[in-house]
Symmetry: C2
Subunit: 125 residues, 2 copies
């Protein structure tokens, strides 16, 4: 189906949810090419806004996202991927979810949980 | 805490998840004002990209989103709200979630579930 990539300079947000647990793992951005590669390969591809390149998530770490379900919103300008996250953690910090900081009652971020891998070992940095 | 609104012309995406069920309800965008209003009031505020106005979700329909948890991602450029959705449905179509279309094996959208309210009655259109 056709998506609306016009609202953010050729990009749209993709929400990534763990299919088994329902945990929201991350949000990334797709252009048309990333969208097509994701559907073709069954593995999540995004457009990296920081590096300006097509990004096959997990190509460095091995922690690819196997796409089990694809959902499209009412305006066709956002997608929801339900995935199997290889290596369990989606975040480059080693946390399961990029959303691992919760605001406390004062509005200050508190890190919840611990990394499940050591980024230095996975990324060799 | 300070968020990074610089990547999308002063906006950042907010993922909205039903706190009770874990269902992803919608994605909307916030500017600094919407973010502050959300924290101040405990009800979700966004920036409407189509109408170019601050948008207190539910101000027309009564279906506000009571924010129970606020999470921030690793780059501080995306937030996750866990909410109690008054009226149960977040989508203007009357569906619980804006993500009510799933792609089938041919990549075609299939609507899953039925609206829980009649938009004509709620919005008077």
């Amino acid at each position: 189906m056709d998506l609306d990539f016009s609202k953010i300079d050729g990009l749209l947000p993709a929400v990534v949810q763990d299919q088994a647990t329902g945990e929201v793992l991350m949000v990334a951005f797709m252009n048309q090419e990333a969208w097509e590669k994701t559907l073709e390969t069954g593995e999540a591809h995004y457009w990296s806004r920081s590096r300006d390149v097509l990004w096959h998530k997990g190509s460095t770490s091995g922690h690819v996202q196997k796409v089990r379900e694809v959902w499209v919103d009412c305006d066709a300008d956002t997608v929801l991927l339900k995935v199997e996250q290889v290596g369990r953690a989606a975040c480059h910090t080693g946390h399961v979810s990029c959303f691992h900081r919760r605001l406390d009652e004062k509005g200050e971020p508190v890190t919840v949980g611990r990394p499940v891998f050591d980024p230095k070992k996975v990324y060799g940095k």
